[in-house]
């Protein structure tokens, strides 16, 4: 076989042509990539080098293993194959380029090494088939919110071309040499041409040109995600449900961190975030995907900024981040932008009132902090004051459970159940303040710190072994954003009590129901099984909704949304979508484990005209029912 680099074409040796092309294309690639790096360096710093072992593990699972790609149908294996084909073809390319530019090197071309050629040929064929599947998905069964841009089409075409040109080349080579690896032989038999040696050269150059062009084009296309996304995963968030470290917020490029800007570059515009987003799906202006696009434009020097309506529509449910294959952090970006808006005082009146009430009275209801424990007055026993006597469990009740008249009966039920189970518990009475989870996610970091200080003062004075919360939002922030607190959700406590026999149901409920995983219990803290075990122990037959466990669909109250005006453009509220989903299962009961879920779904049942068909019950209410003596 002739060496493509030493062959002359119209008098010019191949290696000279390669040198020119390499300088131009690789040069363009490096120059443009360096520009991106320089831009990222203008942004704020952020340490993403901690727990390097864990990071490498995530890299292995989600980059090398393409973990999240398997969550949607049909595309998992194809994309994995395309990815690995790419890894090997990239290796092959640089190898060929180097050898071509320096033909005197005593090294064979990659396709002359049997092992490499074998992998390239097999992966090549599989990748071509995968591209076919991907194309069918993209063009015939287009998932919602997937961008079918010319850029994407061009990229897919280039990939197809580089694969096919290589495979054809191998076919021609097999004809010339009279033998080859199995795949090459099959291809070679199909290609009956007069001078296969020339065809081989032609394919070799077509392949190299395609890749060189691809390389130069890459930093300008959305396929930049190829380069950037491995870094996105490697430098990604290690725990779900977090927010950026305290900052004054961001609206301009330099105010974001490099990792936040990187989101724009890693985004492949696949639309998984939009498909999952309750704000987007209910018709509000927020599209997490477009938010990443804003960042991309910002990094490229554009002026596009997210509008306040987009920024305020988010419920901070973290579905977007849970689905994103490249570990983009949409919520972090939103919280940063909210901080900037709050800093300017640009908050809507309802939210302002809620924040002022939280600041003044420690709750968003505008009621006196002294009224926080009024719900206990109707109990037949006195709830211990954890500020005055030691208790085993310090029960952090939360705003909604304490103040909302629709929830107070359930809170009393909880107290009764704890009492019946012999749990030694107490509350902080007026010493408790809103834990601050949603205050933080609204962008009022200063107020969050103030609430945390006050709560820690009260908690610090109390003597207890563990904290238990009614509300998953409180759970999340007490557990992850306060100082080393040992805190469980009441479903976890119930699970323990049932397993150790301290709580013994007197009857099996014989109920068929579905269970809604709260965002801050499930996605943010991974607690899916404890509530299910509790329901099983009560004799509840569980029918899962399609969107369950980590795919659970937010009720729409989080991220401070419950304190704001309805976002513009809402066609179907997230809570309405959810109760319809529950009703469609044919069950009559939707079980919840979060106070806000309870009221949101009760309201939604009315507005979705499902009254009489579906009822919402808190886990605690079912426990109380099961504890009643058997008839």
């Amino acid at each position: 076989m002739n060496d493509p680099a030493t062959t002359t074409y119209l008098g010019v040796p191949g290696w000279a042509v390669l040198w020119v092309l390499a300088v131009v294309c690789v040069g363009l690639f490096v120059w443009r990539s360096a520009q991106y790096v320089r831009t990222l360096r203008r942004a704020r710093g952020e340490n993403r080098l901690d727990q390097i072992g864990k990071r490498v593990g995530l890299f292995a699972k989600y980059v090398l293993g393409q973990g999240r790609l398997f969550e949607e149908g049909a595309i998992g294996i194809p994309h994995l194959l395309i990815f690995w084909a790419f890894v090997f073809y990239a290796t092959g390319f640089w190898w060929s380029l180097l050898k071509g530019m320096l033909p005197f090197l005593p090294v064979p071309y990659p396709d002359d090494v049997a092992a490499m050629a074998f992998v390239l040929e097999v992966l090549g064929v599989l990748a071509v088939l995968s591209l076919g599947i991907a194309a069918v998905r993209r063009y015939l069964f287009t998932p919602e919110r997937l961008e079918r841009s010319w850029d994407a089409t061009l990229i897919l075409s280039l990939i197809a071309l580089l694969l096919l040109s290589f495979l054809a080349g191998q076919g021609f080579k097999a004809r010339v040499e009279g033998h080859g690896l199995p795949v090459a032989n099959v291809i070679g038999r199909m290609l009956n041409v007069a001078s296969p040696a020339n065809w081989y050269l032609g394919m070799w150059w077509l392949h190299m040109l395609t890749v060189l062009f691809f390389l130069a084009y890459l930093p300008y296309s959305k396929h930049l995600h190829l380069l950037a996304s491995p870094f996105g995963v490697l430098f990604g968030a290690l725990k779900p449900g977090g927010v950026p470290a305290a900052s004054p917020g961001a609206s301009k490029l330099e105010e974001f961190t490099w990792r936040q800007l990187l989101n724009g570059l890693t985004c492949a515009e696949c639309g998984r975030c939009d498909r999952a987003c309750p704000a987007f799906n209910s018709g509000t202006p927020l599209s997490p995907k477009m938010l990443m696009h804003h960042l991309k434009e910002m990094v490229r020097g554009g002026n596009e900024a997210a509008k306040p309506e987009e920024i305020w529509s988010c419920t901070t449910c973290y579905s977007c981040m849970e689905r994103c294959p490249v570990f983009n952090e949409h919520v972090a970006v939103i919280v940063e932008m909210r901080r900037a808006l709050v800093g300017q005082g640009a908050v809507d009146k309802r939210l302002q009132d809620a924040l002022m009430n939280l600041q003044r009275y420690g709750n968003s209801f505008g009621q006196s902090d002294r009224a926080r424990a009024k719900w206990t007055q109707e109990l037949p026993f006195k709830v211990k004051d954890a500020r005055k006597e030691p208790v085993q469990y310090l029960w952090f009740v939360g705003d909604y459970a304490s103040y909302d008249p629709r929830l107070q009966p359930v809170t009393r039920t909880t107290a009764n159940v704890f009492q019946q189970a012999g749990v030694d518990f107490g509350i902080l009475y007026e010493g408790e303040r809103n834990a601050g989870n949603d205050v933080r996610r609204v962008g009022e970091e200063g107020l969050f710190e103030m609430l945390r200080e006050k709560n820690m003062q009260a908690i610090g004075k109390a003597q207890f072994q563990r904290l238990v919360t009614t509300d998953p939002h409180s759970l999340h922030t007490l557990k992850n954003e306060y100082d080393s607190l040992n805190v469980v959700h009441y479903t976890e406590l119930l699970d323990e009590l049932l397993q150790t026999g301290k709580l013994a149901p007197q009857r099996k409920l014989g109920l068929t129901a579905t269970y809604h995983d709260p965002c801050y219990l499930g996605r943010a803290n991974g607690i899916y099984d404890a509530p299910r075990r509790v329901l099983a122990a009560l004799g509840v037959t569980l029918v899962e909704m399609p969107r369950h466990r980590s795919k659970s669909y937010c009720c729409g109250a989080g991220g401070g949304r419950v304190w704001m005006e309805d976002a513009p453009g809402v066609k179907e509220r997230p809570s309405e979508s959810r109760v319809r989903e529950a009703a469609a299962l044919g069950v009559a009961t939707l079980v919840v484990a979060c106070p806000k879920d309870l009221v949101m779904f009760q309201d939604a049942i009315k507005t979705a005209s499902l009254e009489g068909k579906l009822a919402v019950k808190d886990v605690m209410e079912l426990v109380e029912e099961a504890l009643k003596p058997a008839a």
């Binding site: 709050v342 908050v347 009146k349 505008g366 006196s368 009022e444 200063g446």
Partner: protein
């Protein structure tokens, strides 16, 4: 523009209010105080004027519990100076406090000359007078009350005053003037906690000692009590549907349906 804003704390009616053992005054043991809502609007109106026309805002108040937080918040919102009058006698009525503040303004460090003095048109603990007209009279300034809008232009201000029925009146006021503010042109702005805390570290509240003579109370409170409710609504109970049914019956009987 040199603007003074006079602030005062009033009992927070979100809390339960009890009458003290003397039967004539509030029980202070559980009392919480909050900035008079009308004064908050006065401050906002001053800030809007400063945003539009430039100038300086000085907030002024008698020392009281939680007053410092309010003054720092005012500074964080954009006021330039905060002055607290310390050492005033306890239990001053509106009349006494206003006379004292007027003297402090007249004699105080660099408070005058002022173009505008803004304060709330009334407060829920006024018993013997309104602060704004009292100040106006003491300082010899012009006065308009129930103000919902102000613009200034040189030696004059154009002031909007509310009447009833949604009707408002526009007045030309020769400065300096005291305005009793009912509502600012926009709701009071939000200032983040972080900003207030930063101001607490970076800025100081000036103090001036209270002038010796305070005004007397011009009223005598003989008794204070929870209102005797002469009538109370007949309460309807039940589920929303049951209540709706009962109401419909009621309305039908009266020929209102």
């Amino acid at each position: 523009m040199n603007i003074l804003v006079l602030l005062k704390m009033v009992p927070d009616v979100v809390e339960e209010l009890e009458v003290g053992p003397d039967g004539k005054s509030l029980d202070t043991s559980f009392l919480r105080t909050i900035l008079n809502e009308r004064d908050d609007h006065a401050l906002e109106q001053a800030l809007l004027l400063k945003d539009r026309l430039g100038g300086k805002i000085t907030v002024l108040a008698l020392d009281a519990p939680d007053m410092d937080d309010v003054l720092f918040t005012a500074l964080a919102k954009g006021a330039d100076r905060a002055v607290k009058i310390t050492g005033a006698p306890e239990g001053l009525t509106t009349h006494g406090a206003a006379r004292l503040c007027a003297q402090a303004i007249a004699g105080g460090p660099g408070l005058l000359p002022a173009d505008l003095v803004l304060t709330g048109v009334q407060a829920l603990d006024d018993l013997d007078g309104l602060a704004a007209p009292l100040l106006a009279q003491q300082l010899g300034f012009a006065y308009v009350g129930v103000v919902t809008g102000v613009t200034a232009d040189g030696p004059n201000a154009t002031v909007i005053k509310e009447y009833a029925g949604g009707v408002r009146g526009e007045f030309a006021v020769r400065l300096p003037a005291v305005l009793g503010v009912q509502a600012a042109e926009k709701p009071p702005r939000y200032v983040p906690v972080a900003k207030v805390r930063a101001v607490m570290k970076a800025q100081k509240i000036e103090t001036v000692p209270a002038p010796a003579e305070a005004g007397a109370a011009l009223v005598e409170v003989r008794q204070m009590a929870k209102p005797v409710v002469s009538s109370h609504a007949e309460m309807l109970e039940g589920s929303p549907e049951e209540i709706a049914g009962k109401l419909c019956e009621l309305l039908a009987k009266r020929g209102l349906l």
